[in-house]
């Protein structure tokens, strides 16, 4: 899948999750967005998304995703 198409797909999924107040979906989607930007070398954007994945992961009790996002943030010096 082309990167732009993947981005657009993620964007639609995020908007749908917000519209449905489906907070449990947000950590995974934001983590995916973070990994996409990280692979593209855009670390600031990646860490923006990882931060949202981390916070919503904590909020939703999705410890696994929160932990994964937290690890990426620590690796980039953005979190302790």
């Amino acid at each position: 899948m082309a990167e732009s198409e993947h981005n657009a797909q993620l964007q639609r999924a995020l908007l749908a999750a917000y519209a449905a107040r489906d907070i449990a979906r947000l950590p995974g989607l934001y983590n995916e967005a973070g990994l996409l930007r990280e692979a593209a070398g855009d670390i600031d954007a990646a860490c923006f998304f990882f931060t949202l994945a981390y916070v919503y992961g904590l909020d939703a009790g999705d410890e696994e995703t929160a932990s994964a996002a937290h690890a990426r943030l620590v690796a980039h010096g953005r979190e302790r």
Binding site: I43, D44, A45, A46, C47, F48, F49, F50, T51, L52, Y54, V55, G57, L58, D59, A60, G61, E63, A66, L73, G77, R78, E79, R80
Partner: protein, 387 residues
């Protein structure tokens, strides 16, 4: 009349044969109520709620007490803590309704996240987008503001100014007197054992009415058949609590002969006795061989009070569905009694607008517990008892 005049307070603290009750302003003046928040509540131990309302890990309950936004949270290890319900960032209210938190207390504004023990866990984008650290933001110094708290007989007490003696010291007398109840698990009877009354009176009038037995034959005639006035005695522990006891507690709930189980190992006194105490300032407590109850007074102003009543039983079995009907009848029985008191406390409140009323005279025999409470209020305002 100056409410804080030393001579006025001294008159309240005279021996009961000479004393007047607290002057009208203690009931009618919003400024006095504002002063009470500091002198009688924030600097002592006040009840703000019940631990059963945060029964499970992550349960969080916002509480507005005397205008203070508080947050009660049960940690994963079972510890209950009380915090000021505000984010250390912009002062946003953190939790607005009772909820079960999963892993964090997240501020709904900029999503600063706190652990259940109040420590600050993350500060999203605080150093710019995707940068969650900044040298100026020392997370170790920006945890939630914890309020000193203590749980006693399932009641959550707080000392808002953090300067009162330890709760165990503050309540040593009642803990000793009621040791047989204070150091054992209590089993709340769920929604069938929980009700609220809203009364148009100053909170102190609810205390005063509760702690004396003088009114029982007139206001609660239903009690006369099995709990007569002469079976009651006064209880006074100056500066701490006062109330009444009875030597005849004879539960008659539904006439079926069915009875709640009793607490195990109680002393002989409790086979037929019961006691009703006010732990100053705002909890009215009752203990019996088969149940206890607590009434938290939640003042809403100088002229309005919410009474939260919670009933507890001796065993898990009493919480079962087959006892639900009994619990409902039991709660209804107590509610009838407490509702009978409403016109009295509201009538006394209206009476306090009588400008020439001098605070009243006490029965030297029957009003000892009320005088004990007034002495505590006056003593704290005069500085004699701290505060």
């Amino acid at each position: 009349m100056n409410t804080f005049d030393a001579a006025v307070l001294a008159r309240v603290q005279k021996p009961i044969t000479e004393a007047n009750g607290l002057p009208n302003a203690f009931y009618t003046d919003p400024d006095v109520f504002e002063a009470e928040k500091r002198v009688l509540f924030a600097s002592t131990w006040a009840c703000i709620g019940f631990a059963k309302d945060v029964a499970g890990p992550g349960d969080a309950r916002p509480v507005e007490f005397l205008g203070q936004p508080l947050l009660v949270v049960r940690d994963k290890d079972g510890t209950v803590r009380v915090f000021q319900n505000v984010c250390r960032h912009r002062g946003m209210i953190l939790v607005s309704e009772p909820t079960t938190l999963r892993s964090t207390i997240r501020c709904p504004y900029h999503s600063w996240c706190y652990n259940f023990n109040g420590t600050l866990r993350t500060t999203p984008h605080v150093g710019g987008p995707g940068k969650n650290l900044h040298d100026a933001i020392d997370r170790d110094r920006l945890g939630l503001i914890e309020v000193r708290s203590h749980i006693f007989m399932d009641m959550i007490f707080v000392n808002l100014d953090g300067k009162a003696p330890a709760f165990e010291t503050h309540a040593a007398g009642i803990i000793e007197r009621w040791g047989e109840f204070a150091h054992r698990p209590l089993f709340h009877g769920d929604e069938a054992a929980s009700f609220t009354l809203e009364v148009k009176c100053n909170w102190k009038l609810a205390v005063e009415n509760y702690c004396e037995s003088y009114h029982l034959p007139w206001i609660h005639p239903g009690l006369n058949s099995y709990s007569r006035l002469e079976d009651h005695y006064n209880i006074c522990s100056p500066r701490h609590f006062s109330g009444q006891g009875t030597t005849v507690y004879n539960p008659q709930i539904d006439g079926s002969g069915r009875a709640f189980s009793s607490f195990a190992g109680l002393g002989e006194k409790w086979a037929t006795g019961a006691e009703y105490l006010t732990l100053f300032p705002n909890v009215l407590l009752g203990v019996h061989k088969d149940h206890t109850f607590a009434i938290m007074l939640d003042p809403q102003g100088h002229d309005r009070t919410i009474e939260r009543i919670e009933i507890y039983y001796a065993s898990e079995e009493m919480r079962g569905d087959d006892w639900r009907g009994m619990r409902e009848k039991h709660a209804a029985m107590w509610k009838d009694v407490f509702v009978e008191d409403v016109f009295v406390v509201e009538g006394m409140h209206r009476g306090r607008s009588a400008s020439l009323f001098d605070g009243g005279r006490f029965s030297p025999v029957m009003d000892e517990a009320t005088h004990c409470f007034h002495d505590w209020v006056a003593g704290r305002f005069s500085g004699q008892y701290g505060g």
